[in-house]
Symmetry: C2
Subunit: 398 residues, 2 copies
């Protein structure tokens, strides 16, 4: 990693601080460099992969003196990881401008606040209830998912701290309720706050990624279609095929309103489920599932297939620069590499396959890279080949 | 800059050593990172701009112990600067594979060897003579540029060490010959080796950038049209408009032969003059002017407007990976920023303008960045706007 004391004095360009130095920080730093922006990442992990391409300050999140020293060197600060402690972020924000706003981070860290925000902004959500004890949980599951006419089960999620499918349980029969509570409660701290959502069969998972500038400018990428497995994103298709025009239009408008309401600056992602609804215009509607107040895995295709990547647009926004076009340059499919990277030579031999290796050591369940196949639809043989290579790499012992 | 002793151990990816850490090294490192390739640059200048995005080892070119320590850490070594001393490169090549081959570097460092290579490979060149004394120089100028029927002047160039228009003199009358010798001789070391080329009016300047893989695979970008001023590249238009098909085809074939002959691995650029010639097929032919055994300024448009950039293809080639497609994604115009960068917010407000700021302090005559305007022809108003901004920035006192 960089040795801060040896670092050369800043040229003309601004210095951007990034809290977190994982792959999102790495891709932010790679997008910032061509703009003449110098990045400094902050992460407790000395081997965090953004440290290969930017300066890395290594200290615990709780070391507020280190946070202050870091913040004083930055013209602006952002974060790549939504579990940055809000106290860390608030401390940094007393010394430098922090975007997206801390309120957005805190909302995104709490599934209940998030759902309440979606509802206030007019976005549809799954029927839900909050619970904090075993009894409340059982009652909520009954009312939301099993009482006559109310559904065929629930998805229970911890209010805070879950990601990539962790801290979630699908409950399809009453007999599973008490075991689910024990499992979820065991993964939480003293506060046992759980959200119980109705299980609603969905047709597809979609996400919307948008960016808002410091002066209120707004731009959004087209909806992306995502496939998760085991709670982890596996593939994205961009633009999402066959989305009714009314759905796309309404979703972008709600996103715009929501970002204005939060006085949001930077990239924001919202994940949706597309459900069939005969009563809705065009027969379908979106249920907002969760938001990520940062660049998002389902937007990685924008590096290679949009006029301006989500990473560059985030950097532009938080530094008060004009936003770039979100126009699509080519339809594409993104495939995540989980656990281990396939051999580079196999991937690079595939025409139109853009490879992104995060240079992280292999580990089961870990996102270690992705590829974007350009000018591709889901059924493209090149996509199938990349998925095969991804599966083979993931299956190898590490 | 990075502190080598603190550097994290290599993950799965290879380490690429780059001799030189200027903007070409910086863009190589930015292209290498997504492939999971870690770069280490070597440069005598501690503030060299590639040090922002990669590890930088700082030592004089002549410090062969430092070169050896650097080389031992690398899986492959390349260079971004053709004036790396050949002794440095030869020493490195005893410890790690170095590409492009040292022979190509030495040829590119010497205008006479370069011309002889072009001729051997069947490429047309300007009529020329070599000279090493004032008397030889005067005689060569007379024969090549002023004797009856032989032209209307010469361009005299030092055989070694010139770049960006330095070490050159245009001689349009016999009276200028002796002053030109004094000026050129003063810029050289003890060996006063000069090349005298016939002045040939040209229609346009073109360049060809191609890449050859370790196994002999070959790919070339389309010809690019370049405008120089004061010996410094100002703009490139890619693909070059209205080039006769026969010219493009022949040029790529000669390039392929030349790279095979040199057993070349990596990106090679050759600059040409397009001259009208009624006797030639399609009425035009190319005169090969010089070659650069490295990534080249006239290929910067490939970052944003080709399927695979010249930087990524160079990295792929020198690491023995499959080459990427050189297909054009959009016609584009590249504008260099000389002296100082225009304000980022002005550039980023221009639709389809991709900005590359090398984060170098402003200095007269220095290349500090470039922009590529996508989906553009030379007469696009956006191009004019970028050129205006470039001129205004260059004219500001620094």
């Amino acid at each position: 990693m960089f040795q801060p004391s040896m670092h050369k004095p800043s040229g003309q360009g601004p210095t951007l601080g990034i809290l977190g130095a994982g792959q999102l920080g790495r891709m932010l730093a790679l997008a910032a460099a061509p703009l003449g922006v110098r990045c400094v990442c902050f992460d407790p992990e000395p081997e965090a992969c953004a440290g290969d391409v930017s300066e890395l300050v290594c200290a615990p999140w709780s070391d507020l003196d280190a946070v202050a020293a870091f913040a004083k060197r930055c013209d602006a600060i952002t974060f790549e990881f939504e579990n940055v402690p809000a106290a860390t972020l608030r401390h940094a924000s007393t010394l430098a401008r922090v975007d997206p706003p801390v309120l957005a981070l805190e909302t995104g860290q709490d599934r209940l606040l998030e759902k309440q925000l979606f509802e206030r902004m007019g976005l549809s959500v799954h029927p839900y209830e909050a619970a904090s004890t075993a009894a409340e949980f059982a009652a909520a599951c009954e009312r939301v998912g099993f009482a006559s006419g109310s559904g065929t089960g629930v998805v229970a999620k911890t209010r805070r701290g879950g990601y990539d499918g962790k801290g979630q349980a699908v409950i399809r029969s009453r007999e599973q309720i008490s075991a689910a509570w024990v499992a979820l409660a065991g993964s939480m701290d003293a506060r046992k706050d759980v959200l119980v959502e109705q299980f609603v069969p969905f047709e597809r998972e979609l996400s919307l990624i948008a960016v808002r500038g410091a002066g209120g400018a707004f731009a959004s990428y087209p909806l992306t279609q995502n496939r998760h497995q085991g709670g982890i994103l596996r593939e994205s298709i961009a633009p999402a095929p066959s989305v009714p025009a009314s759905v796309a239009r309404h979703t972008a408008r709600y996103m715009h309103d929501l970002m204005d309401a939060l006085q949001y600056v930077g990239v924001l992602a919202i994940e949706f489920f597309l459900v069939r609804d005969a009563a809705a215009e065009d027969g379908a509607r979106l249920l907002a599932n969760e938001m990520a107040p940062r660049v998002h895995n389902s937007g990685h295709w924008t590096i290679d297939a949009a006029m301006t990547s989500q990473f560059e647009n985030h950097v532009r926004a938080v530094l008060g620069l004009p936003l770039g076009s979100c126009e699509v340059r080519a339809p594409s499919v993104m495939v995540n590499f989980i656990g281990a990277m396939p051999p580079a030579r196999d991937l690079l031999a595939i025409p139109g396959c853009r490879v992104h290796d995060y240079a992280k050591p292999a580990r089961a369940g870990r996102k270690v890279g992705h590829a974007t196949i350009l000018d591709a639809q889901a059924d493209d043989p090149r996509v199938k080949r990349v998925i095969e290579l991804a599966s083979a790499a993931d299956a190898r012992p590490v």
